[in-house]
């Protein structure tokens, strides 16, 4: 069953990708989408069987892959609760995104390629989460990186999309380098790359040290930090986060699937998968906590000033990933996975909702050109509102259970790092509420402002330009009769293929937390649910129930405060943001430049790298080429010229050459006689 589940998307990707134009749009879409729905159905049965019915985990060996000395790597699927949770998330969101893309990509000329990439991504992601050894996990890890690159650059004619794709790839290389070093080091320490012996042996290795350049280092801390670098790259944590916002150049379904629900959570999954290793390395957990908290804060602040609807959600994703990491860092691996699980639903919902808005606004993504859309696209509005409620942690939505769980766990852990994380997390919850409602208010409330949008203008002229002969007059007529600010354009609700996934995800965003919270993070439910597939600290889960009342109420309170500020700034007193910006120019610039990370990296890495490259390029030309390739070629052509000059056509010259050759040969062989 698990083989079918994993390989169906690959088969579909191959059919759609290789068939491409040959089989046409509809078969490609049908094959990939059907395959994903089958996979999703299988995933849920596995999840019910193993996760909820507490069935035993198992491992399926498919093929021998590498046998070299002590190294043994198989293609094998490890199925346990942790895997089952990821399977459900991946296949469900992927199936819905496939369906959604029927509508969203309807006018695209390259649909088979798009669906093939989507399915390929899903396959790689499934390989990642089902891996029973680190090498196979790395295969999936690189596979999703590749698919992400291909999909970000899907509209390859757009230079910005290409640049974003390359940026994502390169930044991920940094993380992957750390991950591969981590795998090498793990192999050196444990002598195997199989997960089971590594995880079983981790506790025994705690506290072991090794000597490096005369200093003693803790083995497990080193391993975990190297692996965590990989997780940081994939999950866009502070420092290696710069690619994620740019990745929004890809089509919106891609953003929902890869850059919100699944791939970016691979880092979290990896940390949880390897939780026994991290448990043996408390210092590494502290680092994870601080990095997660810093990312959560950073991304939330930046999200407050973004005007591109997708970028707001992208930074929000970045910020929520920070939550998951500091939960893991606080030892609440179950809470991290729970937030991953609920986040997949409400963030995919938000992205797909944003996609529906963008779709109805003719690819206008700037929220300053939205406004008052709730009447034109009510279903999308409803879905987005549900997503926002869940994201901000409104009472009894999914986000409420998972986010509260994380904050309580951080508080209950009680370490210094976790306490910092708790307070940062509370502040971030306020910011989250603020920017999320800001998005909703700017988009769906207030006056229509899209008349000035170039995209909408373009769409208008395109639609109406050839309907009537006298274009100018008809436009004037439109302007005159249309409500102010609309420019005569009326947004339409999206087709059912796009709305159906929104409805399904809305249900998930509302109910997933309520249904599953006892299993994921409950003190009794958690132990049996996780069933040893990840570390579950039962005392911590117990302590979460006994935190002070103000801790329990904090998330809800800050959520309401954030909502109130957003309402005040964008509904009650719309001039307030402008006045605030005028009064705090420095802060505003700091935030709009995303804490100057891109500028910093440009100065530190990109420019020196270019200079370095130029140095080698020029040096190569002046030294290696000149005396190597070019030099040899010049020598050949110079000798050719010389040979031509000798070939004068004069017989006496030819005879002379012959005689010189003869004399030289005679002298040479007689040299022993001549020299005695």
């Amino acid at each position: 069953m698990i083989q079918l589940l994993v390989f169906l998307p690959l088969a579909a990707a191959l059919i759609a990708g290789l068939g491409n134009r040959l089989i046409g749009n509809l078969p490609a879409k049908l094959v990939t989408t059907a395959a994903l729905f089958v996979s999703a159905a299988l995933s849920w049965t596995i999840f019910l069987d193993i996760g909820l019915a507490h069935g035993a985990g198992y491992s399926v060996r498919v093929l021998e892959w590498i046998v070299s000395g002590d190294m043994r790597v198989d293609w094998a699927f490890r199925v346990d609760t942790l895997t089952a949770v990821m399977l459900v998330v991946i296949t469900s969101v992927s199936a819905l995104v496939h369906l959604y893309s029927w509508g969203y990509m309807d006018e695209d000329p390259d649909q088979p390629r798009f669906f093939a990439y989507l399915s390929l991504f899903t396959f790689a992601m499934l390989m990642l989460v089902t891996a029973d050894n680190l090498v196979q996990m790395f295969f999936g890890w690189e596979g999703v990186g590749l698919a992400s690159y291909l999909l970000i650059g899907f509209w390859y004619k757009k230079p910005s999309a290409n640049a974003a794709a390359i940026k994502a790839f390169v930044v991920n290389r940094v993380g992957d380098f750390g991950f591969s070093l981590g795998i090498f080091a793990t192999f050196v320490v444990f002598g195997t790359v199989q997960l089971t012996p590594i995880l079983a042996g981790s506790a025994a290795m705690a506290g072991a040290t090794f000597n490096f350049l005369g200093a003693q280092f803790d083995v497990m801390t080193t391993l975990c930090l190297l692996l965590f670098v990989g997780a940081m790259g994939k999950s866009a944590q502070l420092g290696l986060h710069t690619w994620l916002p740019d990745a929004m150049e890809g089509p919106t379904p891609v953003s929902a699937l890869i850059h919100a629900a699944t791939m970016v959570t691979a880092g979290v999954f990896m940390v949880v998968r390897l939780s026994p290793m991290f448990e043996a390395a408390p210092d590494a957990l502290t680092v994870v906590t601080y990095v997660g908290a810093a990312t959560a804060l950073f991304a939330a602040t930046v999200a407050c000033v973004q005007t591109d609807i997708k970028r707001v959600i992208a930074y929000s994703t970045c910020s929520q990933l920070g939550y998951m990491f500091f939960a893991a860092g606080s030892g609440a691996f179950g809470a991290a996975m729970f937030h991953l699980f609920t986040h997949a639903f409400f963030k995919a919902l938000l992205f797909l909702g944003a996609g529906a808005v963008i779709h109805s606004m003719h690819h206008e993504q700037d929220m300053r050109f939205y406004g008052g859309l709730r009447k034109s696209i009510p279903i999308t509005f409803a879905a987005m509102t549900i997503g926002t409620l869940s994201l901000t942690g409104f009472f009894f939505t999914s986000g409420y259970y998972s986010k509260d769980g994380i904050l309580e766990a951080a508080f209950a852990n009680g370490s210094e790092a976790s306490m910092v994380a708790f307070f940062v997390g509370a502040l971030v919850a306020l910011l989250t509420s603020f920017y999320s409602w800001r998005l909703v208010f700017l988009t769906f409330f207030g006056e229509a402002r899209w008349g000035a949008s170039e995209h909408v203008q373009h769409a208008l002229h395109h639609d109406h330009g050839h309907d009537t002969e006298d274009t100018t007059d008809s436009d004037h007529a439109h302007h005159a009769s249309a409500p102010a600010g609309t420019g005569g354009y009326h947004p339409h609700e999206s087709p059912w293929t796009m709305l159906a996934p929104l409805v399904v995800l809305s249900i998930g965003a509302l109910a997933a937390g309520f249904v599953f919270h006892e299993a994921f993070i409950g003190a009794e439910g958690g132990t049996v649910f996780w069933n040893g597939s990840a570390v579950f600290r039962e005392p911590l889960a117990e302590a979460m129930h006994h935190v002070p009342a103000w801790v329990v109420w904090t998330p809800g309170a800050v959520m309401l405060i954030g909502f109130a500020i957003a309402y005040w700034a964008y509904m009650a007193s719309p001039t307030l943001p402008a006045r605030f910006v005028a009064g705090n120019r420095g802060l505003y610039a700091f935030l709009t430049h995303k804490w100057f990370f891109d500028e910093l990296y440009n100065a530190i890495f990109v420019k020196p790298a270019f200079a370095f490259g130029r140095l080698f390029w020029r040096g190569d030309g002046r030294v290696i080429d000149r005396f190597g390739a070019d030099g040899a070629a010049a020598l050949v052509s110079a000798s050719s010229g010389a040979a031509k000059r000798f070939q004068s056509g004069a017989v006496y010259a030819y005879a002379l050459v012959m005689l010189i050759g003869l004399a030289a040969a005679a002298t040479w062989v007689l040299r022993p006689a001549l020299l005695g």
């Binding site: 000798s639 050719s640 040979a643 070939q647 007689l670």
Partner: protein, 480 residues
């Protein structure tokens, strides 16, 4: 049986050629130039009979040790006769077009072939000289075959003067060896020179002179200077002939002289042969780059190929010599194929063109011709799996087995440089803007020859490797 009669029987191929050439000469004289076509086919028939005689005849020494028929001579004779027959046939349309359809062409060809057969069967310096002169005199005449055309006459005269010089050098060498070694017979010399006589300055000097004289014929550097000029000036079929059969004959002669007569002085001649091989490979490769005339280009190509073949001789082992023989067989096919392609290069009026640029875009007007020439060029460049790669591989292997690493390395470098100009022809045909189209093919026979040559050089030709190498090995063993 009377010894003379037995000798005549052993020398049957030469006898057939002698009678055949006299017969065709008589026929031609009486029937005039109209008889070109029938005479050519008669000539091919005679070559065929001589070939059968050479392949199946008794193998023994004859004429009191002046002449020898052995596996080595049989292999080379079959090769020479086949090449000569092809050279006779491929010339037909050219000679008819050029209005110099003179019947002497096949007759001269036959006389030259007779000379070549004598050469490869020579077991004495004097037989060697007679064979070589017979070939040379016929060749001078052939080079000047278009006697009304300045270029052709010039080529003939140049060839004659330089050939006479080479002849003189050779004779001088022979007389020195005779004076210091006491004999002109190869077997006697071989025995004598293994003794103290081999150390004498006079014999070493004579060896150098003999080698120089022979290397002139195979156009090895620095005795190659005539080659580009003569190839360019001589009528194209004549250049095709020069590039093929005489090279094989002179190479065979050189091998026999080195390995048999001077077997005891391997150390001395190996140095000369090595240096000449290196010089030929490099100059052949480098010199061809600047050429704009395809016949000159092929002249340099033949210089380079002779250099590669000499690597096998420098090795001096059975593997090396069989490598040389294998090399020459494949080279013959490639060069004849290339020249038949050159014969197809005629402008709309049917006049021959020889510039490389006229080949531009050939793939669009004459697909088959372009493809065949491309295969031949790739094969000449020695790109696996085309046939031209394998003999190169054989001689390089032989050189490495005898620790002649430098030769092998330079050989590989020269192959790389050489690949440039061969591939340039392919590039011109396939990627350049088309030049004016050539006239349509004028001969089914020649088209067939091109097809056979291209097929032989294609990967399909690998089927021929086993029998060819086997025969070459048998032939090489006859010398040891």
């Amino acid at each position: 049986m009377h010894p003379t009669f037995a000798s005549i029987q052993i020398a049957a191929p030469e006898l057939v050629l002698t009678i055949g050439s006299l017969l065709t000469l008589m026929l031609g004289v009486f029937r005039g130039d109209r008889s070109l076509v029938p005479l050519t086919w008669v000539c091919v028939l005679i070559f065929g009979i001589a070939g059968v005689a050479a392949a199946t005849g008794d193998q023994a020494a004859a004429f009191g040790g002046l002449y020898v028929a052995d596996g080595f001579s049989a292999y080379l004779k079959v090769m020479i006769l086949a090449a000569a027959a092809v050279s006779a046939v491929l010339a037909l349309p050219y000679l008819q077009h050029a209005a110099t359809g003179r019947f002497e062409y096949p007759v001269l060809l036959m006389l030259a072939t007779l000379g070549m057969c004598m050469m490869v069967s020579a077991n004495d310096m004097l037989t060697l000289y007679i064979g070589l002169e017979l070939l040379s005199l016929a060749s001078y005449t052939l080079a000047a075959f278009h006697r009304n055309e300045a270029r052709s006459s010039e080529a003939g005269l140049k060839y004659f003067i330089l050939g006479a010089l080479a002849s003189g050098i050779l004779l001088y060498g022979i007389s020195l060896v005779y004076g210091f070694g006491g004999s002109t017979n190869f077997e006697t010399l071989s025995a004598t020179l293994r003794g103290p006589a081999g150390q004498s300055t006079g014999v070493v000097f004579g060896l150098v002179f003999i080698l120089a004289g022979l290397m002139f014929k195979i156009s090895a550097v620095p005795f190659h200077m005539w080659t580009p000029d003569v190839y360019e000036g001589a009528p194209t079929p004549v250049a095709a002939f020069f590039s093929a059969a005489p090279k094989a004959a002179a190479m065979g002669l050189l091998v026999r002289v080195c390995v048999e007569a001077f077997g005891g002085m391997t150390f001395d001649w190996r140095q000369i042969v090595s240096v000449v091989a290196i010089a030929s490979m490099l100059l052949g490769a480098v010199g061809a780059i600047g050429q704009t005339n395809i016949k000159r280009l092929l002249a340099y190509s033949s210089i380079a190929n002779v250099g590669f073949a000499l690597i096998g001789l420098a090795a001096g082992t059975v593997e090396g010599i069989s490598g040389v023989l294998f090399y020459m067989a494949v080279y013959l096919v490639m060069t004849l194929g290339a020249f038949v392609c050159v014969l197809q290069m005629r402008d709309a009026d049917g006049k021959p063109v020889e510039t490389l640029s006229s080949l531009n875009g050939l793939s669009r007007s004459r697909k088959g011709l372009a493809a065949a020439l491309a295969v031949l060029m790739f094969s000449l460049a020695g790109i696996p799996p085309l046939l031209g790669f394998w003999p190169k591989f054989a001689v390089f292997t032989a050189a490495i087995d005898t620790q002649l690493y430098l030769l092998a390395v330079i050989g590989v470098v020269a192959s790389v440089i050489g690949a440039y100009y061969y591939l340039r022809v392919v590039k011109a045909m396939y990627f350049d803007e088309p030049a004016p189209a050539f006239a349509a093919s004028d001969s089914r026979v020649n088209a067939g020859l091109i097809g056979i040559a291209a097929l032989f050089c294609s990967p399909l030709g690998m089927l021929a490797i086993t029998p060819l190498v086997g025969a070459a090995r048998v032939a090489a063993r006859a010398l040891f």
